[in-house]
Amino acid sequence: MDMTPLWISLQVAVPAAAITFIAGLVAAWAVSYCGKAKHVADSIFTIPLVLPPTVVGFLLLIVFGTNSTIGGALLKVGIRLIFTKTGAVIAASVVSFPVMYRGARGALDQVDRNLVYAARSLGMNEFTILLRILIPCAWPGIAASAILSFARALGEFGATIMVAGNIPGKTQTMSIAVYTAMQSGNREKAYTWVIITVLFSLMILIAMNILTDRGARRLRRGT
C-alpha cells in the first residue's frame, strides 16, 4: 500500500500548523492587548473560517498566481506556489489560522488582567509579559487551539486542491486521495484512507484532551 498521501499530508500540516501557531498567537495577542480597531481586525482574522474553502483557494490563486504581482515576485526568487507543496502549506495555513487565532484569543482573554497590570508595574515590557506571563497562564487553551488548528490543516481539502492541485506523489494529501479514489470508483482505497484519517484525527483529539486537562490541573493546583 502506498502511504505517500499520509506523508504529504504531514509535510503540509506540520509546517502549516507551525506557521499558524506563531501567527495566530501573535495576532490574538495584538488584537486583545494592543488592539485599537479591534472589531475590524478580529473580523479579518476570522474570515477564512466562515468562507467556503474554495473561495479561500480562489482568492489565494488571485494573490499568489503567476500573473499577480506577489506571485511574479516570488517566482523571480525561485518560489513557486501554484501546484506545489509550498502552495498547499500556504492554503492549509490560511484555512487553519482562524482556529488558532480564536482559540488563543479566548485563552489570553481569560488570563486575569491584574497579572498583566502587576507585571507592568513591576517593569516588564509587553513582549516579556507575553512570554513569561500570558503564554504560561493561557497554555492549556493555547495548546488545545494549536492541536485543533493542526487537525484542521491536516484535513484541508478545498483550498488546497485549488491552489496545489491533485498531483499524486507531490500534492495529493489524504483528503484529496479519498476524493480521487471515490471519483475513480476505487472504493477499497477510499475506505482505507477514510479509516486512516478517522483514526488519526481521533488520536489527535485524545492527545489534546489529555494535554489540556493536565495543563489546566497544573495551573490550578500549582504542582
Partner: protein, 357 residues
C-alpha cells in the same frame, strides 16, 4: 517626596475628579465602595490613563495631558500591591519575588525578613493568605520602587489575619522610606496607617486633612460617617431654636450651641452618651436628657450596641434610629431598664459636631 495629583477621568456616568497632594509620609484615601478609590490608584500607577490633568512624583512628571507626557506603568517605578495580590500562578513564590529583582541580595534578604524561606518553592495556589500577601509585598519591594500603592490590602482577610497583616505591613512600611498611599473603606485601618487622609466621595476628593483633624473635625456629614460617627441628623432652625429633625430632638438655641454660619447637619458619636437612671432623670429637668425607646440591643465582643429612637419622634428616616454604644462592665446594672423599652440618656453639648454639608 510628594505625590501631586490633579486629574480627571470619565468612568461611565461618573466623572472622577481628583486633586490632592499626599504630603510627606503616608497618605490614605478613605471612601465608600465604588467611589473611585481603586481607579485613582490605577491612574497613578499608569495602569489606566486619565483623560486630562497632571501627576507628578517629587520632581518627576508621570503624566501631563497638556505636554502629552504619559510615562508607561513599567517606567514609573511605583510599587502596587493588588487586592488579590496578583501573584503569577506559573511561578513559585521565589520566582515571583526574583522575577524583577533589581538587586538579588536585597531580594533574598526580603525573603528572609518576611519569613518566606519555608514556602518559597510553593506555587501561589498553595500559599496561605498571609504568605501570599508577604510574597506580593516582597515582589513589590524587590524592584526598589520610589513609591508604593496599597489597594485595600486587608479587606480580603479575616479578623485575626487582618491584625497580623496590618502589623506586617506596618513593619514593611518602616523599612520603606518613600511615600506610601493606601486606599480603604475602613476607618480603623486608615487611622492606624496614615498621617494624612483624603476623603473621597463619588469620584472626588473632597477634603485632605491630617489624621487628627479628620477624626476630631470631619468636614462634612459624609466624612463624619466615614470616621464611624453613627448618629447624623439634618438640622432645622425655627425662630432661633435648632432642631435635629431626624432624631426628633430640640438641641437648643443657635447661641447656646455657638453655631456659626449655615449648619445643615449634626453628628454625635455613639459612645458619647451617658446613661441616666429614671429617678435621676425625673429629678433633673436638664434639657440634655433624651427619653429613649429601645429598638434593639446587640451584644458585641466587648460592648453593647443599643439602637433606639427618641420618644415621640415622628420621623421615619433612616437616621431617626440612633445608636448608643456602651461597655459591657456596667451593663448588668442598667440592663433591666434598657431592655424594658424605656430609658434615659444624656448628651453633651461639647461633643456635638456640626456640618454645613
Amino acid at each position: 517626596m510628594e505625590l501631586n495629583v490633579d486629574i480627571e477621568k470619565k468612568l461611565g456616568d461618573m466623572t472622577l475628579r481628583c486633586r490632592f497632594n499626599t504630603g510627606e509620609g503616608r497618605f490614605a484615601l478613605l471612601g465608600a465602595s465604588g467611589c473611585g478609590k481603586t481607579t485613582t490608584l490605577r491612574l497613578i500607577a499608569g495602569i489606566m490613563t486619565p483623560d486630562r490633568g497632571r501627576i507628578t512624583l517629587g520632581d518627576r512628571v508621570l503624566f501631563d495631558s497638556k505636554k502629552k507626557i504619559n510615562i508607561p506603568a513599567r517606567k514609573r517605578n511605583i510599587g502596587y500591591l493588588f487586592q488579590d495580590h496578583a501573584l503569577f500562578p506559573n511561578m513559585t513564590a521565589y520566582q515571583n519575588i526574583m522575577c524583577r529583582a533589581k538587586d538579588r541580595d536585597y531580594a533574598e534578604s526580603l525573603i528572609e525578613k518576611f519569613d518566606l524561606q519555608g514556602v518559597k518553592d510553593r506555587y501561589p495556589s498553595k500559599l496561605s493568605g498571609g504568605e501570599s500577601q508577604r510574597t506580593a509585598i516582597a515582589r513589590m519591594l524587590s524592584t526598589k520602587p520610589e513609591m508604593i500603592l496599597l489597594d485595600e490590602p486587608f479587606c480580603s482577610l479575616d479578623n485575626y489575619l487582618k491584625t497580623v497583616a496590618e502589623r506586617e505591613i506596618a513593619e514593611v512600611l518602616d523599612e520603606f522610606e518613600g511615600p506610601a498611599m493606601l486606599v480603604s473603606h475602613d476607618r480603623n485601618e486608615v487611622y492606624r496607617f496614615a498621617d494624612t487622609i483624603g476623603v473621597m466621595e463619588a469620584g472626588s476628593v473632597t477634603a485632605v486633612l491630617s489624621k487628627k483633624e479628620f477624626f476630631d473635625l470631619p468636614g462634612s456629614a459624609y466624612s463624619a460617617r466615614l470616621t464611624g460617627c453613627k448618629n447624623i441628623s439634618a438640622l432645622q432652625t425655627e425662630g432661633g431654636t435648632v432642631r435635629a429633625c431626624d432624631w426628633g430632638i430640640t438641641l437648643g438655641t443657635a447661641e447656646s450651641l455657638s453655631l456659626s454660619g449655615d449648619m445643615r447637619y449634626a453628628g454625635y458619636r455613639a459612645h458619647f452618651f451617658d446613661f441616666v437612671s429614671a429617678e435621676d432623670a425625673a429629678a433633673d429637668d436638664d434639657a440634655h436628657i433624651i427619653e429613649c425607646e429601645t429598638v434593639r440591643v446587640t451584644e458585641d465582643a466587648f460592648s453593647m450596641i443599643v439602637l433606639f429612637r427618641s420618644k415621640g419622634n415622628t420621623s421615619s428616616s433612616r437616621d431617626s434610629m440612633m445608636t448608643w454604644i456602651t461597655g459591657t462592665e456596667k451593663w448588668h446594672e442598667i440592663k433591666d431598664e434598657v431592655t424594658s423599652g424605656r430609658f434615659f440618656l444624656r448628651w453633651k453639648k461639647d461633643k456635638l459636631m456640626f456640618f454645613d454639608r
